[in-house]
Amino acid sequence: MTPLEHYPVVDLGPVMKGMAIGGLGIFHVFLAQFAIGGGMLLCYLQWLHMRGRCRLARRFIDDYFKVLVLVSFVLGAVTGVAMWFTSIQVSPRTIGVMVREFHWIWATEWSFFCLEVVAGYLFFRFGPRLPDASRLQLLGLYSFASWMSLFWINGILSWQLTPGGWIESRDVWQGFFNPGFLPSLLFRTICSAAIASLAACVLINLVPGFTRRERESLVAICGRPLVLMLAMPLVGAWYFGSMPADSRGWVTGGSVPMTMFLTMAVGASALIGLYAIFGILRKQLYVNAATAGLLLSLAFVATAGGEFVREGVRKPFTIREYLYSNSVARDGIAELRQRGVTADDPYPLRDEAAYPSEQLVLGGKVFRAQCSVCHTLGGVNSVIELTGSWSLEQKRLNIAQLQQTKPFMPPFAGTPEELEALVQLIGWIDAGRPDAWEESSDPAVLAEIRRWIDEAGTRPGHASLAAAAGDRHR
């Protein structure tokens, strides 16, 4: 595996690239889970109808399915494709490795997607004209296919955080059935059921033609899958336990934003769960459109928090122990420290003439290759802000030993000259981009940087910390 592949780097200005993929990802996951849970709920309703236990079900199913098609089949399908394109924009190498390793899994998922779309559209178009048994068969196939899509994609996504035996064997099935696979699958299945139930409660109130009593009866029935939320703490704990220890550390105080987002997800889920269990299921409270809308919004908040955490706890990797978030291979650090991270970069800077020296141009290229995937130079998560309180010496030391300065950062992967160029670039921008900037090439400084880099080693931060703890223990 090459240490780094050079692609043209997209510049989103003051916006962090993670915000683009994160925002779209949250939206897509919410829609996808709505579709998966919706299929299961509609199967259940059709089954109740056939047993004479819900005479309104057939009509409601047809109304619900129209919404499912308009929302999920359009927005869900296009945002699914958009996830691929956005991943390419943010980290082409990561998505490239995922596609290479799991292309047959993705192709398998595609075959289920085809079944889902055909069964879904047939139900949408012909469902009202079909006898009950055929409707249940069609809904069953639709529901099964959409859940199987989750099954396959879940294996790929959970592999990114917990690749398990794949790291050693490179066996696709060891990667797919990784330690996080099952808890993640169960957790997402419960989320899907809950989202679909809450969406049904919204719809029951919006569809014209039902009496208040009919709405009450439908809410009581559609709220039943929410009982699955009782298992959420247990499955969530299992999922949490499957994460690597350092990832667990980020969400339990190690990283303030990640801890906050986890709290947000857990809090929103707890509020929904409590209302569902005590309000909807025990007290049989009527859920009006406003309450249902609020609960669904909370579900969106929970999804957003959960997805942020899932993406965030992988740091400093995008593929655990294999590929760092800046697309540098874990095993490529040493080589890049000798050869230089910009040595093979064929792309010039966009505004090269605005840089007063070659060293600053080099610094711009180093920033682009190693930092720009998560940081900006003057916007969100700006390196200028983050290093603002550091002295020149501290900048050199802290970046040289980056994985020890902040263990969720990858090790610096470049030569001392490149590191010094990056430090000078930060200083130049912090000084307001003056027209002249003296080059810094003191051999003693470069030798000191080399010593610091060597001292930090090439291992990621969590491995360095574990080794240090081991040494202390001995």
Binding site: R58, L70, Q89, P92, I95, V99, T108, V118, R129, Y347
Partner: protein, 375 residues
């Protein structure tokens, strides 16, 4: 490059190339219906309310275009997957260079998709004719923009020498000599596909194509079948003219790939298929009849043309890439497990899809016992 496509390549490369071509062909079956269909609708709306009211194809397209778009997107996922295996660096680099401009296809696709549903709605039926024209034209403009963006992206992926300069300039557009002509070839190729598909759809749905039964559907003196023939012939002639304009803009090595051993048999197949289609549609138009045999022959010709074009598209690309480097990556990808699982599930799911369609065709006739009226 000295053997007919896909032979002559290392096994892994040939395998993925066949998969790309096959799945791209499937995608085009639906994508052409959407692209040409939305154009047909937009033109129809411009012709006026009376024209549209009499034209059964307009009603059919309004009804089926959203479903066809869903299928086109779904079918498009597979070639998108295989292109990432075959030409990852080239495809990703073009995506990244065009950046926001390229990503704009996604919101545009969502808007165009919803506009197709809007055309089906009772709401638009209650609005003035200007609304109908605007909605149809905007939907078509959206799909046309996506087609243009794909063409631009594809051509940029072939032009590695231009990447650093384009990146440095910050320009998010890539204009090259062959862009318009190539876009015209593929856009116009969509019309014969639409004609074939509507002809078969008409047969399956018992829509009269000609004769006294179709008298009420005659528009501008043309029966539904003759309108299809006109559509197909216009597309075939236009596509040929656009290809003639496109040819000199191709680099010498691409022309060699098309005319040489790699592409020549496919070029012949495409040309023969084109000739067959022209003859079939001329006969159908002159007799105002399309018997099954003639329709089948026209379909075979269409398939030969489309398959030939898709292969030639790859031949042009293969002439520009570093095959030795890519072949190593293809071999590496082919060594990764999972193919048997895909084949098993793809077979089972294909069977399930066929079963669904047959089941619905058999049973979706009478309202079910618990239908809305009875509930």
């Amino acid at each position: 490059m000295n053997a007919v496509f896909p032979t002559g390549f290392p096994p892994a490369t040939a395998f993925y190339l066949v998969l790309l071509v096959a799945t791209l062909l499937l995608h085009m079956v639906f994508m052409h219906y959407v692209l040409a269909g939305s154009a047909y609708l937009a033109v129809g709306r411009l012709m006026g309310r009376q024209w549209c009211r009499r034209c059964g194809w307009q009603r059919l397209l309004v009804d089926w275009l959203p479903f066809a778009t869903g299928l086109a997107i779904t079918a498009g996922v597979a070639p998108l997957l295989f292109v990432q295996i075959l030409y990852q660096r080239e495809f990703y680099s073009a995506n990244l260079l065009l950046s926001h401009r390229w990503m704009a296809i996604l919101p545009v696709l969502i808007v165009a998709f919803y506009l197709l549903y809007l055309q089906k709605s009772a709401w638009i039926g209650r609005r003035g004719w200007g609304w109908q024209i605007a909605v149809a034209a905007t939907a078509f403009a959206g799909f046309a923009f996506i087609a243009w963006s794909w063409t631009e992206n594809h051509l940029l992926s072939l032009d590695e020498a231009a990447w650093p300069t384009l990146y440095a300039s910050g320009d998010l557009r890539y204009a090259t000599a062959g862009l318009v002509a190539r876009l015209a070839v593929w856009f116009l190729a969509a019309f014969p596909t639409l004609a074939i598909e509507l002809a078969w759809q008409g047969r399956l749905l018992d829509i009269p194509l000609s004769g006294p039964a179709a008298a009420g559907e005659t528009v501008a003196g043309l029966s539904p079948l003759r309108r299809l023939a006109m559509t197909a012939l216009a597309g075939l002639v236009g596509m040929t003219a656009a290809a003639a304009v496109y040819w000199p803009t191709l680099p010498a090595e691409s022309r060699e790939a098309i005319a040489g051993p790699l592409g020549r048999p496919w070029l012949v197949a495409a040309a023969a298929g084109l000739a067959v289609q022209v003859i079939c549609w001329l006969i159908a138009a002159s007799r105002d009849r399309l018997p099954s045999g003639l329709a089948t022959l026209a379909t075979a010709g269409w398939l030969a043309t489309l398959a030939g074009l898709v292969v030639l598209r790859e031949a042009i690309r293969l002439a520009t890439v570093d095959l030795d480097t890519l072949a190593e990556l293809h071999a590496e990808a082919a060594g990764i497990g999972g193919l048997p699982v895909f084949l098993i599930f793809a077979g089972l799911n294909a069977a399930a899809i066929v079963w669904c369609i047959r089941m619905v065709a058999r049973r979706a006739v009478t309202p079910g016992p618990g239908s809305r009226s009875g509930s």
